[in-house]
């Protein structure tokens, strides 16, 4: 794999990560933050996969697999919180 592919991929994902973080911090509503967290989970999947390719170690794909499978649980939790009438002003 050409190194520039890896570098560019990393670069794109890192920018995405920073943007996601900005939304996470800014909110303004809790669902906004949760959406940002979801996105960050996706980005994390991407980063892990790129890393697997970079190092040629397929083992790391399993980490991404687990994250892909369970990453949305946090969102479900937050949603449950909101639906049950948790504090909305944040």
């Amino acid at each position: 794999m050409p190194i520039w592919v890896i570098t560019v991929s990393y670069l794109l994902l890192c920018i995405a990560l920073i943007l996601g973080f900005v939304r996470l911090v800014k909110g303004p509503s809790l669902p906004d933050r949760v959406v940002a967290l979801e996105l960050i989970a996706s980005i994390t999947v991407g980063l892990i996969l790129i890393y697997a390719v970079q190092t040629g170690m397929p083992y790391f794909i399993d980490v991404a697999l687990v994250l892909a499978l369970t990453g949305f649980m946090a969102a479900v939790g937050f949603a449950r919180y909101l639906e049950r009438g948790g504090s909305r002003d944040e």
Binding site: Y51, Q54, T55, G56, M57, Y59, F60
Partner: protein, 115 residues
């Protein structure tokens, strides 16, 4: 990278201690969670960081190919993560329960057992 991680870990320690020093029990427990993460990263960092050499032995070999990251700190951190999870699950529920009993999340108002 160890040097950078040293600062990252330091920052995590600082942030978590700062958080634990707030008056809210929620922040206390979030601070503890963060602190636990900080300690795990510290262990991971001080025994040296190795890129791309997971301690896994490929088929047909009896040693990891091309060297390995020290597996022992990894095992320690894994144990510590799990222990931390158990302990903090307890702590999280404790503050929940404490709030129900005391109806107060301000630590400054939880002084009856001391004085």
């Amino acid at each position: 990278m160890e040097t950078i991680m040293a600062f990252v870990v330091g920052a995590l320690f600082a942030a978590s201690i700062y958080m634990m020093l707030r008056r809210s029990i929620v922040k206390l427990v979030i601070g503890l969670i963060l602190l636990s993460n900080a300690a795990n990263l510290l262990i991971f960092t001080v025994s040296g960081l190795t890129r791309g050499l997971p301690p896994l032995i490929p088929e047909g070999s009896s040693l990891p190919a091309g060297g390995w990251a020290d597996p022992l700190p990894q095992a320690l951190v894994l144990t510590a993560i799990v222990i931390g999870f158990g302990v903090l699950a307890f702590a999280v529920v404790l503050i929940h329960r404490a709030y129900e009993v005391i109806n107060e999340d301000d630590l400054d108002k939880m002084r009856s057992t001391d004085t």
